[in-house]
């Protein structure tokens, strides 16, 4: 057994002699595909990891527990029982007044312990002013506040009864909460300072936070789940970094699904694309195998030799690809990390690489099964009479079908293994998409070849007729070549189509119609003037929404303790600590919103209960549902509302969001204030806007959503980088497959070419014949591939990814024309080579 194996290995190696270049080409095709999978999965993993880290840095901790009152002794005991490290923080709204005189402004004061943050950093200008703040020399304030109040670092200000100094500008700080309530400038100081100055005395709306750093392997979600009852009983709110990660991760997950799909297609293209070529290579061994069998090599030993070759190409290509993929992953990560803030670290991909190599070997073997079956049933007689076609009997037909089924199963299995979906369901969808694409493509190519051959009969020129007729000749394998090529066209077009759609949706945040600077507390009368100001600075007025503040007076939960309203579980919705909800009214949903349940009501008759729409996250937190009735007070006036719909808000679209949306006609325009938003191209511009606004409209607050925006931008850029990279790789795979296919049929062409020349045909005609044939194959391939891609992208975009269908005409046209051009070129190279070869070579080498 062992001897047979070593012999087969040696034989497989020797047998490949003169064709190693070709086999290497096959391996390269596999490698490009496997490389794509490894690089993309590894890259996806890196980004996922960094999103996870980023989520922690945005929160500053693994978990934050909050209460609307000072932690009681029992709450403290509970917190200590959780373990890990803690850092406490208090947050409250307060007025600040410059010591030199001037208008007071509402700010959000945060008192922190120096252990905070556990992840991420508090960034200040000048650097190091954090230490000054921590040692109690002053406070850190948002740039917005400093510019709005016309202050400078070092100026003294009053907060409540405390007089202190602005020690630095806060540029970035992690922390709990992000929402409408946050649209107030922040001021950071130390917790001991707050207690020392008794700033909390007499305040009702103080939020207490306990930030946790938990041991690295803690399953935070499970911990929260386990202790859910305790949290509820003790009236503690909790938010975890994991939950945020999921929200951000959702975006990335869609993206990764797309990238993975594309890389999977590349891999399949690489592996199955050369399957035809590999089979051709194997079938070219017919006489050799017959001879071996005559000599007395057993069928299984002969099979082993060629199985080794097939697996060798797959595994060799796989290893090559895994190495290249790991390298490309690093390169991609390094290049990308220059453009994004996300701290992307390179993650090892051993498992993916091993899986991909194994799958490549397996699929490469299985996709050769039809050839193996043919060779297995080969009669050694064919050495005596090479022209004898393989015997046809029903047993063999059945086994051929079994082989095709097996090969198909192998491809499905390979795609299932490689598809990095989360569930088997998801993986099956990938597999189905790929196999479906293959089947459809094959049908399209058959139709295309049939149509072309029909045209051939009416052709005038002999060379054209002959060239087109060549498509139908079995040994030319036009069908497999066209399917392989068509598949690469399909993949490139599909990727381009889906990428375009994806970008259309995903990249909006970075595009100029997305708000990233928000102006709040704009009085109705100021709106035109503020709009003019924006216009004069060349900034668009993207949104202008009326804002009203409502207080909840829920009869279901009688206000035994008003300050604990709405409920202690409300931690995501910062307005909780202001005791207020932000509401607006309008007729239509904005682009980032979707109705999750109920019905969007735009009319209010003027009497009776008012139908409103609630943000679904808030509703879930509060335990509200469609039909829940709530009592609000607005400016002291009670109003009854009923929840008519729940809105889910696309996290991608970081825009000012409202808890409640009323139908028009409930409030008076002049009742509340307005919220305006614009898009600043960069942080410099956003600083200018904020300064100008606060100069001209001192009562208006301007908030920069830049940080969160930049994270979304980062993700979008990662997507774009990944997608471009893949498209490039896909072309490499396609070309490798084309060359492999063309090279595999070279022997046939050589024979035909020599024969034609022996018959005395001028080489010009021979060239024309081949050119016509190659261009025809390329054209059939590119049109089949492109139309399959159009259909596929539309379906996938519509039903799987939920993205708009946009046709990148340029790419499509380029690919559709490039492929025939390329086949023509490679045909030219090959025939030039053939015409150069002397007929003697054929007589000598024979096969």
């Amino acid at each position: 057994m062992f001897r047979t194996l070593t012999w087969a290995l040696a034989m497989a190696w020797r047998d490949s002699r003169r064709e190693r270049g070709r086999l290497f080409l096959f391996a390269v095709a596999v490698a490009a595909g496997v490389g794509a999978v490894v690089a993309v999965s590894g890259f996806g993993r890196s980004v996922q990891k960094s999103i996870s880290y980023q989520a922690k840095s945005l929160l500053g901790a693994d978990m934050v527990v909050s209460s609307s009152a000072e932690f009681t002794a029992s709450q403290e005991r509970f917190l200590n029982s959780i373990g890990g490290e803690q850092a406490h923080e208090v947050a409250f709204a307060s007025l600040v007044r410059p010591a030199k005189g001037g208008a007071a402004r509402l700010v959000q004061v945060r008192g922190i312990e120096s252990a905070f943050p556990f992840y991420g950093r508090i960034e200040t200008v000048p650097q190091g002013s954090l230490d000054g703040m921590r040692s109690g020399r002053g406070l850190l304030a948002d740039a917005a506040l400093i510019s709005q109040m016309g202050l400078r670092i070092g100026d003294a200000i009053h907060i409540g009864g405390l007089k202190t100094e602005i020690w630095g500008t806060l540029t970035e700080a992690p922390g709990e909460g992000f929402g409408v309530g946050m649209m107030v400038p922040r001021v950071y100081m130390t917790l001991p300072d707050i207690y020392r100055a008794s700033l909390l005395k007499g305040r009702t709306m103080v939020k207490h936070h306990a930030y946790f750093r938990l041991p690295p392997d803690t399953d935070v979600a499970a911990l929260v789940e386990q202790r859910a009852d305790d949290f509820r009983e003790l009236e503690l709110g909790v938010e975890t970094a994991k939950a945020r990660e999921l929200r951000m991760g959702r975006v990335w997950k869609n993206t990764a699904a797309f990238l993975n799909l594309a890389s999977l297609l590349a891999a399949l293209l690489g592996v199955t694309g050369i399957a035809g070529a590999m089979q051709l290579h194997l079938l070219g061994r017919t006489e050799r195998i017959a001879t071996l069998r005559c000599i007395g090599v057993s069928p299984s030993a002969a099979f082993l030799v060629y199985a080794i070759q097939a697996v060798g190409v797959g595994v060799g290509g796989g290893v090559l690809g895994a190495g290249a993929g790991a390298f490309m992953q690093n390169a991609l990560t390094v290049v990308l990390s220059r453009f994004i803030l996300l701290d992307v670290r390179i993650e090892p991909v051993w498992d993916i690489a091993a899986l991909a190599v194994a799958a490549a070997g397996l699929v490469s073997f299985l996709s050769c099964t039809p050839a193996f079956i043919q060779l297995r049933h080969l009669s050694p007689f064919q050495a005596l009479r090479p022209s004898v076609p393989g015997k046809k009997n029903t047993r063999k037909e059945t086994s051929a079908w079994a082989a095709y089924t097996l090969a198909g199963a192998g491809i499905v299995l390979g795609s299932l293994l490689l598809a990095p979906g989360e569930s088997w369901g998801q993986k099956s969808v990938f597999a189905a998409v790929c196999c479906g694409a293959f089947a459809i493509l094959s049908a399209l190519v058959t139709a295309g070849i049939w149509g072309t051959c029909a045209m051939a009969r009416s052709g005038k020129s002999y060379a054209v007729r002959h060239g087109l007729a060549n498509l139908r000749r079995p040994q030319n394998r036009s069908h497999s070549v066209a399917v392989a090529l068509g598949f690469s066209v399909f993949v490139i077009c599909f990727a381009a189509l889906v990428q375009r759609g994806f970008e259309d949706k995903l990249l909006q945040p970075g595009e100029p119609d997305m708000s990233n600077v928000v102006l709040v507390d704009v009085r109705p009368a100021q709106v035109p003037a503020v709009a003019r100001l924006l216009q004069s600075m060349g900034l668009p007025l993207l949104e202008s929404s009326p804002v009203v503040s409502l207080r909840l007076a829920d009869p279901a939960k009688p206000a035994k303790d008003e300050k604990k309203h709405p409920t202690s579980r409300d931690t995501k919705h910062e307005s909780g600590w202001l005791g207020e909800y932000k509401a607006t009214w309008r007729e239509a949903l904005t682009t980032g919103e979707k109705i999750a349940a109920g019905e969007w009501k735009t009319r209010y008759a003027g009497v009776g209960v008012i139908p409103v729409s609630v943000e679904s996250g808030l509703a879930a937190d509060m335990g509200w549902d469609i039909g829940t009735r709530l009592d609000f007070t607005h400016g002291g006036r009670p109003m009854k509302v009923e929840i008519a719909s729940l809105r889910s808000v696309d996290w991608m679209q970081i825009r000012p969001n409202f808890h409640f949306v009323f139908p028009p006609g409930v409030f008076d325009e002049l009742d509340g204030s307005f919220m305006l938003s614009t898009h600043a191209r960069n942080t410099e511009q956003s600083g200018q806007v904020m300064a100008a606004v606060s100069r001209e409209f001192p009562t208006v607050s301007a908030v920069d959503l830049g940080l969160a925006m930049s994270l979304v931008d980062d993700i979008a850029r990662s997507v774009r980088g990944g997608a471009r990279f893949l498209a490039g790789l896909m072309i490499v795979v396609g070309l490798a497959v084309l060359l492999a296919s063309a090279s595999a049929s070279q022997t046939e062409r050589l024979r035909e070419c020599i024969l034609m020349r022996t018959l005395g045909m001028p080489s010009k005609i021979v060239k024309t014949i081949f050119a016509v044939e190659f261009v025809a194959v390329g054209t059939v391939a590119s049109f089949s591939g492109a139309s399959a891609a159009l259909g596929g992208a539309w379906l996938v975009g519509r039903y799987a990814l939920g993205i708009p269908f946009a046709v990148p005409v340029g790419t499509l046209v380029a690919v559709v024309f490039a492929v025939p051009l390329f086949t023509w070129l490679s045909g030219w190279v090959i025939t030039a080579d053939l015409l150069k070869r002397s007929p003697m070579d054929v007589l000598r080498y024979g096969q």
């Binding site: 001897r3 012999w7 040696a10 020797r14 047998d15 490949s16 002699r17 003169r18 064709e19 006489e287 050799r288 017959a290 001879t291 071996l292 069998r293 005559c294 000599i295 007395g296 090599v297 057993s298 069928p299 299984s300 030993a301 009669s379 050694p380 007689f381 050495a383 005596l384 009479r385 090479p386 000598r844 080498y845 024979g846 096969q847």
Partner: protein, 239 residues
């Protein structure tokens, strides 16, 4: 497959190697059955030579294939070394051929990616002979090709290729050698040298020789002459 036990004896002296008993072979073309070999019977003793002659298309190659177990007969039996080939599996027949049967083809059938030496070594390597390389060199020397040992078949002339294939056929010391028109692709002089080489080796090693040829002169030198016509063996009319 021990040689001694598996051979039957005839008239107490000669060991019978090959018995063809009513061999028939037909190919189906569409509905019709095309008989190619019809009821052929003959016996072949150890250490003898046998020539099969007949016009092209008379079924010689087909008969050879049936006798060597490359194909199965439609009816009748082929018994090689006492084994009914039809009773053996593909693997068993392969093993039998590897050790006991040599082949020479009209178009040489050397493996183009193997050197002459490697081609000759091949059957011995498969068998696991430790001295494969040395044996192959010895045989190449015997056929006068030592200096071409490392050349590929494409670099050898037809006669050289056929001599290489003869060396390959003998490396496992087969008891029987089938040659299907071994000189069909060679000129007269080369043909002569190739066939005399075959007879030489036969004499030296006692290998039973089954030779298909068109050349009646070459055939005359054989112990037994089978003339085929339209799939049947016809009586050999004295010229």
């Amino acid at each position: 497959m021990s040689q001694g036990s598996s051979t039957s004896k005839e008239s107490g002296s000669k060991v019978l190697l090959l018995v063809a008993d009513g061999l028939c072979k037909s190919f189906s073309s569409g509905q019709a059955q095309l008989p190619v070999v019809r009821d052929v019977s003959f016996r072949l003793a150890e250490k003898t030579t046998c020539a099969i002659v007949g016009p092209s298309g008379s079924g010689k190659t087909t008969l050879l294939g049936l006798c060597a177990g490359l194909d199965t007969p439609s009816s009748g039996r082929a018994i090689l070394f006492g084994h009914d080939l039809a009773d053996m599996s593909e693997e068993e027949r392969a093993a039998l051929r590897l050790k006991n049967v040599g082949f020479i083809f009209q178009n040489f059938q050397l493996i183009p990616t193997l050197t002459a030496l490697e081609n000759v070594m091949l059957p011995a390597e498969v068998l696991g002979t430790a001295t494969a390389r040395k044996d192959a060199m010895d045989l190449l020397a015997a056929v006068g090709l030592v200096d071409r040992a490392h050349h590929y078949p494409g670099e050898l002339s037809g006669g050289e290729q056929q001599r290489t294939s003869i060396a390959r056929a003998f490396i496992n010391r087969p008891r029987i050698l089938f040659a299907d028109e071994p000189t069909g692709n060679l000129d007269a002089d080369t043909s002569y040298s190739v066939v005399s080489l075959l007879y030489q080796v036969h004499k030296l090693l006692g290998t039973t020789l089954v030779l298909v040829t068109h050349n009646i002169d070459l055939a005359k030198a054989a112990d037994q002459l089978l003339r085929m016509e339209a799939g049947r063996i016809v009586p050999d009319l004295p010229a």
